[in-house]
């Protein structure tokens, strides 16, 4: 049995904890570079603002409806997510953190009234952290996710689902007929694993609700669609096909990419940005104790602008797999020099590390040229990470990333960001005494 717990309008809820005056008014949080809405309060949803809608299309609500738009404050959201997830873990013995605001909990072996337990955890998170959550409980992950959707919608919009499922919806204790009623009231496009494209195909074939999908024969679905949709059908029928994922597994790819605040046309600032991205990626690599074998660099113009388009990427193999910032930055810059073309308004660049392997597995070679400096390099990197951890990111950088000069032309546009209330001693919220 599984539970899915997630924070309602998570980014907006985080902001409201520290700015209670935002309660009850329409609020959106904007993506990097203040591009589009990535979180909406219920009041903003009621204005008809869609997920991912560009800022310039909704800007007029500032005047007409008192809409407040904030730049994403990921330092804050990350810390609030940590707090919420560690309390959510109290729901059951195993946990998979699925995204910044969603977590699956394995409930096997948990005795007693699950709905009461979920309500207690929910109210603890609300009181302790300040984030309102919803919980869905079901025999499979797909059903738990659907139950979570029901819990959210029953709370927000009256009439779409019975009100007793608001906040916490437990499918496991319901009679079969009740579950079928809920499945029949759920659009097939809302299901986990059914994307917009498959959703459209299903609807064209007369399958509009979760109940209709659940009644299909899995083998037929497999031949007409894919294994993925077949799995969804089985999960809807109550057969668990997807287990909890172990979060401790190191990632297979590490990337650091960003859109620029203003277009970049010359090599200098680009090299600076790429050096910084490569350093950051190397830091993430060391955090999971891996080595990378290849470094990919890319640059591209904005597809949303009318200027001449340019998009190139290149993979630079490292001489030996490592996690050394200097070697990774050097490889990234080598690649950048090869793909850079002046005369384009570049909007985005990034560095990806590939061919990851555990740092403990090392292929040594006989050094005929110069002695291998692996051990002292590793210690240098440890020191670098320790210094940056203590004195703030970027206290020590590679020379090509440049120090000081903030804000730089390419750094992110975040004009409406609230302070890092919980992660910076100098930005604590103020209480009038």
């Amino acid at each position: 049995m599984f539970a899915l717990i997630d924070g309602n309008n998570f980014y907006v809820s985080c902001e409201r904890v520290f700015r209670p005056s935002l309660e009850g008014i329409p609020v959106v949080v904007l993506s990097n570079n203040d591009g589009c809405a990535i979180a909406r309060s219920n009041e903003a949803k009621a204005l008809g603002i869609k997920m991912g809608q560009p800022w310039h299309e909704i800007r007029h609500f500032e005047e007409s409806a008192g809409l407040v738009a904030l730049s994403a404050n990921f330092a804050l959201y990350g810390d609030m997510s940590d707090r919420m997830m560690s309390l959510a873990a109290g729901l059951g013995p195993t946990q998979e953190i699925y995204s910044i605001d969603e977590s699956f909990i394995g409930l096997d072996g948990v005795r007693g009234d699950l709905k009461a337990r979920a309500l207690a955890v929910r109210s603890r998170i609300l009181r302790w952290v300040g984030i309102p959550c919803c919980v869905g409980i079901g025999p499979t992950k797909t059903l738990a996710k659907m139950a979570n959707h029901i819990a959210k919608m029953a709370e927000r919009k009256s009439g779409c689902y019975p009100i007793e499922h608001a906040q916490v919806c437990d499918l496991c204790t319901l009679a079969r007929s009740q579950v079928e009623e809920l499945l029949a009231a759920t659009d097939v496009g809302e299901l986990w694993g059914i994307g917009p494209r498959i959703g459209k195909q299903l609807r064209a074939g007369g399958i509009a609700t979760a109940l209709q999908l659940a009644r299909l024969d899995p083998a037929t679905v497999r031949s007409r669609f894919s294994v993925v949709v077949e799995r969804t059908v089985r999960e809807l029928q109550g057969v668990a096909c997807i287990g909890l994922e172990d979060a401790s597994q190191p990632r297979q790819q590490i990337a650091c990419t960003r859109s620029f605040g203003a277009p970049v046309m010359t090599y200098e600032p680009l090299a600076e940005a790429v050096s910084e991205f490569a350093s950051r990626a190397a830091e993430k690599l060391r955090l999971q104790s891996s080595h990378a074998a290849d470094v990919l660099v890319f640059v591209r113009t904005s597809p949303f602008r009318q200027d001449p388009q340019y998009s190139r990427s290149i993979i630079v193999p490292l001489r030996r797999p490592c996690s050394d910032t200097a070697a990774i930055v050097a490889a990234a810059l080598l690649g950048l020099r090869a793909i850079f073309q002046p005369g384009y308004q570049l909007a985005k660049a990034g560095v990806m590390l590939m061919g990851l392997q555990p740092a403990s597995r090392e292929q040594l070679e006989l050094a005929f040229d110069k002695p291998y400096a692996g051990r002292s390099k590793a210690r240098l990197m440890q020191t670098l990470d320790a210094v940056n951890d203590r004195w703030g990111r970027g206290a020590i950088k590679v020379g090509s990333a440049k120090i000081g000069q903030v804000p730089r032309g390419w750094s992110m546009k975040q004009q409406r960001r609230t302070p890092a209330y919980t992660t910076d001693w100098a930005q604590l919220p103020i209480a009038r005494a």
């Binding site: 209670p20 707090r83 919220p429 209480a431 005494a433």
Partner: protein, 149 residues
């Protein structure tokens, strides 16, 4: 060295040859001399955070601005350790939300009515008017003051 010989003694020569070659870290140092008598006591240096923060997920830091709480020992610029897990009761110093702003005051609850009292005679009590909601955000458990600028 006795533990090392025990570790490898069960490996027969053929088995060892088929295993990956482990290179010993010869850079490591070996300490000789009298072992520290404190080693077995397991005493750990006091961790200030563990003392001040009982509910890590529920604890937030706020900075006090103003002198309305000076008789409670809270001065302008102090850092307040606020625990949201504690059930607020009469007499607690709390962070309350008044008109969308955080204020630090002493809480008085009587017969379902709420009053926020300053700890400075120059400031009046805050009594919510009819229909005005006052929410207690958290309980102040410590005030940290720095004596050096």
């Amino acid at each position: 060295m006795s533990s090392l010989t025990e570790d490898v003694s069960h490996l027969s020569p053929t088995r060892a040859a088929s295993l990956p070659l482990h290179v010993l870290d010869l850079m490591a140092t070996v300490r000789a001399g009298f072992p520290s008598p404190a080693e077995d006591l397991g005493a750990k240096r006091i961790d200030l955070t563990a003392q001040l923060v009982k509910h890590p997920q529920a604890t937030f830091l706020l900075r006090a601005r103003g002198d309305s709480m000076k008789e409670a020992g809270i001065f302008d610029g102090d850092v307040l350790v606020v625990d949201r897990a504690i059930q607020p009761r009469t007499g607690h110093v709390v962070i309350a939300v008044v008109e969308g702003e955080f204020v630090c005051k002493t809480l008085w609850l009587r017969a379902g009515r709420i009053k926020l009292k300053a700890a400075n005679p120059c400031y009046p009590d805050i009594v919510p008017r009819e229909g005005q909601a006052v929410e207690v955000w958290g309980v102040v458990v410590h005030a940290i003051k720095s004596l050096q600028a």
